[in-house]
């Protein structure tokens, strides 16, 4: 536990000094929220809808920081440590790969949770937001999205041969997910064909789950996305630890 606490404290300091995650995981989601809030205000999501546009988008906005941390931050920091031979040095100490990965996962969890809280507070205070659904269901969905996205990041970070590869894979996953899953561009305003493509992204499934939870809509077809994301997480985490590359 002492190892974990010390590593977490130091890695968190380094991450904050780096500023990237402050921008991508904390500031960007807030900026998108404020822009959407100013443009759409308290307008209903569509003609005759019982909830506002912002209420509909809230779930999606909360996943921006999960993506930034899980798909960009996590794999890049680990592959950078591999490049710099920091992992090689860890290999000749008693520390385990699971510990190294866990420290980073907790760091990006902290960013995500801070972002979630900030988004919630700002939307409630400035844009009259109200979470219609059940808070436990929303948080459960949020945790599941975090688990599946972070596990993808762990896998890329754990086994990518070098920073360049990790960075390419991360970008290939990050930008389409960010743009097409409804995290920034609302799913509802996309043309039908684009929606179909977006549907195959794991994040899109997660956002649907969060949206239903936030709006208190019936959760009929959620079993499939839950199962898919849980299996994905288990496989990715298993692979990242079993095939962890120190060098």
């Amino acid at each position: 536990m002492r190892t974990f606490r010390t590593m977490l404290k130091n890695e968190m300091k380094l991450s904050i000094r780096d500023m990237n995650m402050i921008i991508f995981a904390i500031c960007i989601p807030l900026a998108v929220l404020i822009i959407l809030g100013i443009i759409y205000g308290n307008k209903p999501a569509y003609e005759g809808a019982e909830y506002t546009f912002l209420e509909q988008s809230f779930g999606a906005l909360t996943t921006i920081s999960i993506c930034a941390g899980g798909v960009m931050g996590l794999p890049l920091v680990i592959s950078d440590y591999r490049n710099r031979k920091i992992l090689k040095h860890f290999k000749v100490t008693p520390v385990s790969p699971a510990m190294i990965l866990a420290v980073q996962v907790v760091i990006y969890t902290i960013y995500s949770v801070v972002s979630l809280i900030l988004l919630y507070v700002v939307s409630v205070i400035f844009f009259g937001f109200h979470l219609n659904g059940s808070i436990p269901v929303f948080l459960g969905g949020y945790l599941l999205v975090m688990l599946s996205i972070f596990s993808i990041g762990m896998m890329i970070g754990g086994i990518a041969p070098n920073s360049q590869t990790a960075s390419v894979i991360a970008s290939l996953l990050y930008f389409p997910m960010l743009i097409f899953s409804g995290a920034t561009l609302p799913y509802e305003v996309m043309p039908n064909a684009l929606q179909k493509i977006a549907d195959i992204l794991p994040l899109t499934q997660g956002i649907k789950l969060l949206k239903a939870a936030a709006l208190g809509l019936p959760l009929d077809n959620v079993f499939v996305p839950i199962a898919v994301m849980a299996v994905l997480a288990a496989v990715c985490i298993g692979v990242s630890i079993r095939f962890f590359k120190w060098e």
């Binding site: 000094r17 710099r84 040095h89």
Partner: protein
């Protein structure tokens, strides 16, 4: 005396190129072992295979009777390592790096004490990047000593240090040796090897060309001083050696 490091019939090649061939070595507790040779002679490959960061092709290797692959966690509680290449995060400070290193071990030394001993305690708040080459080298030796190891591996021990600093480091290491620490080092400075090493092994193109004490190395060469003898052993011309 206990055998701390044992290497038997170890070979390693990279894509057909032999890096190390049929190496045998044995390091006893409380002694200093020097692995010498030109760049590319196979020193780093040997260290990395002993530590398990590379996989040997053939041969058996053990440290304190443990296999560096299968008993990694247990073994590295008692082993300190300083690699040739620097490895630290971009903006990390000296004290942060020491603190994390300290937290990895069950019974670590107080790093502040070690920094003081090596004369770099006033640099604790600086980033590692800001240190001079010599200060950084000292820091890496400190990091290798933080676990209070039974055996320490120092690759290119005092590269980048000035004459005075090198003497200071020798003195600290000699004191630790007195207390039973086993030291495995590589170095390009023959005065250092003479001052510290009980046993040396000179590698040339991956093969052992001399194994024994510094005194023996000089005696079985045509030269009077060790540096000349070393150059003679590690020299390119093999035919010359065979004539003697």
């Amino acid at each position: 005396m206990n055998e701390i490091i044992s290497v038997k019939q170890f070979s390693k090649s990279y894509g057909g190129l032999t890096a190390v061939q049929d190496l045998d070595l044995s390091v006893m507790q409380g002694t200093v072992f020097g692995l010498l040779g030109e760049n590319g002679a196979g020193k780093s490959t040997t260290i990395e295979c002993i530590l398990g960061t590379r996989i040997p092709d053939t041969g058996t290797i053990s440290i304190m009777g443990m296999n560096p692959f299968q008993q990694r966690k247990q073994l590295f509680e008692n082993v300190g390592v300083q690699f040739q290449e620097a490895n630290y995060q971009d903006k990390v400070t000296v004290s942060e790096l020491c603190e994390v290193t300290q937290s990895l071990y069950k019974k670590a030394a107080d790093y502040r004490e070690l920094l003081k001993q090596f004369g770099i305690s006033e640099k604790a708040k600086s980033t590692v990047k800001e240190l001079s080459g010599g200060q950084r080298q000292k820091l890496f030796i400190v990091l290798a000593l933080i676990p209070q190891p039974k055996v320490v591996f120092l690759d290119e021990l005092t590269t980048g240090l000035d004459a005075k600093a090198r003497r200071e480091v020798w003195k600290i290491l000699s004191n630790l040796k007195e207390k039973g620490l086993t030291i495995f080092l590589t170095s390009h400075f023959m005065d250092e090897v003479e001052a510290l090493c009980d046993t040396i092994c000179i590698l040339k193109k991956g093969k052992t060309v001399f194994y024994g004490t510094v005194k023996e190395a000089v005696e079985s060469s045509p030269y009077k001083n060790f540096e000349d003898a070393y150059l003679w052993y590690s020299d390119e011309e093999t035919s010359e050696n065979e004539n003697v």
